[in-house]
Subunit: 392 residues, 2 copies
């Protein structure tokens, strides 16, 4: 069987969308509007520039930056050449960022101007780093990302759906960051599952409030890409600015962790904007806040359970259907609750949540023993406690 | 990596649905209503009975029957033990049915009363056949399917998403039937893609007018299963009976090949039923008929292109968006048009349609050369002609 025949990678999604959605807006921001056709072209150019610098399949490219529209051509370019993105939480200390770099040994790093200095100081820690790229204007050690966008377009290489595209670090255990290896197929499966669950269409638009280095933020953006809607960028969350943008750009979906929604609702109450276009909010919040949003009568809240290892939006449920629940296994998710001996417990009893299916990550980077332990008996052991009730 | 960790099989779908949708109706027919929980139990019993008769992973089980609600526990039972369903077109001649049997060498066959005699006469042709099962009352050579439903429940075996679940014969070439080998993952990918495209929910209901031995009929039924809606069965298509049933059971989706919709519309015009619940019709028909349906103002027509080898609903497009087009590549489909030298042709030019992605079948049963030829260059060569226009 030919490799790739039955794959559908994140690059394939960019390509399909360029063919179907053409001049529709894929990404919009203060930098302007980018159509799906332009986004594919930009991705080919980024791929070409990186290839020219010797970046090849399996090489890691780190990203340490606040949300930026250039995240999208970067992801597309890396997808095309089979390289792996290592998005780093910009709120980490320099020491922790250094850990993530030494753990993954990237050959290139992309930063925004705020982190140019920090990364240069970390250089000696991470001798694998050859290329320094900035979303800013560049100079010194740094190539401006604009230069990559002017690269000679490269053809994509053939990949398998199980090839890795992202290494995302989860909470450090004993000071040691664990990198979850995430494949093309993991991301695509999660995005299509949630398009199906929420019933999204190309008319939808997502405001990127959640950070793209986090699985929930990355999946939110990919869901909107995959369905052919608009990704609207905001440089920094400010409830008043975000609320006005939601009205102005007819944003239909956001992700939420406290206190995002509460702050938006408090601002909304002042009357400068309505939030009336918001049909979907996914995430986790207090019932009080969720009900306040639903009380506006505009949209619904999708309660979600997940972790980086299971693509974030693993188990999702409309709050209206079961207020306060932790979601229901999505249409591509198998989930069970077990006791300490891996025996399934009765409905209603608390135990460890086990997950199987295409949303399960491919293991911890360079942690074979830990990976084997996590995947024992053919299930991903989340380490999280939960219970199934009669509603699922 | 453990097998099954990242799989999601048709059996896994049955299991998830039993946990989430529990007492919601999965299948309804003249035989009564079956809930998702009952359907999983029935599937375990069918699996147990078959296992008891020595049916094992990879064994083929043929089906020669008109649409019957027992199709669903049969498919669930086969999924659980990794056996392969060979659905046979009941409109074929005895000789052609014989070809399909000798090609796949099933160990068991399931028929409805109309085909009991024909199959017994074909026995000598197919010595592999050990078990004869009927959807009728049984007797003589035949076990009634009711007996299988009373079997001792069996536990499922661990499968991979790429394991085959169906061999479906496509149009015979030079009198030789070609069996398309279809995996769990093929079917699941197609169902989730089309749930996402059409925006279906557990409130939807599908009337099985299309035959289940055909890929469009099988996928229509699976889409409705996967989303947690109701599969409504009808023994034989009669436009008046079907129309009344659509109104009575609030059916929201049907599949269509001429003359189904035309006949339904002609009957509807007589005023005995409205079709007002019908939100979605997928299939192929004359623009005149499609427009007449859309003119009622109740629902939309989804134009589809596909073949057995690509799970039927490969390329789908709302007629309203582009009247008369042959669909747009679905969210898990990559498609290109090439000339006789496999070179991609310009937009607007006619050429052969090539398909890649999780909807591509696993090859023709026992036809290695033909399979290799069909899959050359890492694409499935459909043999169909088409062109991409500016709309995709």
């Amino acid at each position: 069987m030919e490799m790739g025949l039955r794959s559908f990678t994140v690059y394939d999604m960019y390509k399909r969308n360029a063919s179907i959605f053409k001049d529709r807006i894929a990404v919009q921001s203060e930098r302007g509007k980018v159509t799906y056709r332009e986004l594919l072209d930009q991705s080919h150019r980024v791929a070409g520039w990186l290839k020219g610098k010797g970046v090849k399949k399996g090489d890691r490219v780190a990203v340490l930056a606040k949300n930026d529209p250039y995240f999208f051509p970067l992801l597309g370019g890396l997808s095309a050449i089979g390289a792996i993105m290592v998005p780093i939480n910009f709120r980490l200390s320099a020491e922790e960022v250094g850990h993530n770099l030494t753990n993954t040994e990237p050959v290139a790093i992309v930063v925004d101007p705020d982190y140019e200095k920090m990364v240069l100081e970390l250089r000696s820690l991470c001798p694998s780093l050859r290329e320094f790229i900035t979303f800013g204007s560049g100079g010194g050690f740094y190539h401006s990302f604009e230069v990559l966008l002017k690269g000679e377009p490269a053809s994509p290489i053939l990949l398998d759906g199980d090839d890795p595209l992202v290494i995302m670090h989860t909470a450090a255990v004993q000071g040691k960051p664990r990198g979850a290896v995430i494949s093309h197929h993991n991301l695509i499966s999660c995005s299509i599952q949630n398009i199906a669950l929420m019933g999204l269409t190309p008319e939808d638009a997502y405001l990127n409030i959640l950070p793209l280095f986090h699985i929930a933020g990355m999946i939110g953006a990919l869901i909107m890409m995959h369905v052919g809607g608009r990704n609207v960028m905001i440089s920094k969350f400010d409830p008043r600015v975000a609320g006005k943008l939601i009205d102005q750009e007819k944003v239909t979906m956001i992700g939420d962790f406290p206190p995002i929604l509460l702050q938006l609702l408090d601002e909304q109450a002042k009357g400068e904007f309505t939030l009336s276009s918001l049909k979907h909010i996914f995430g986790v919040d207090l019932q009080e806040t969720v009900k306040r949003f639903e009380g506006l009568g505009y949209g619904q809240f999708w309660l979600a359970y997940g972790q980086t290892e299971t693509m974030g939006l693993t188990s999702v449920c409309a709050n209206r259907e079961r207020p306060g629940c932790a979601g229901k296994p999505g249409p591509l998710v198998e989930l069970k609750i077990v006791d300490e001996f891996d025996r399934e417990v009765e409905t209603g009893k608390v135990g460890e949540i086990l997950v199987r299916g295409p949303l399960v990550f491919h293991g911890y980077w360079r942690e074979e023993e830990l990976t084997a332990y996590t995947f024992r008996e053919g299930w991903h052991h989340t380490g999280d406690l939960g219970r199934l009730d009669e509603g699922g």
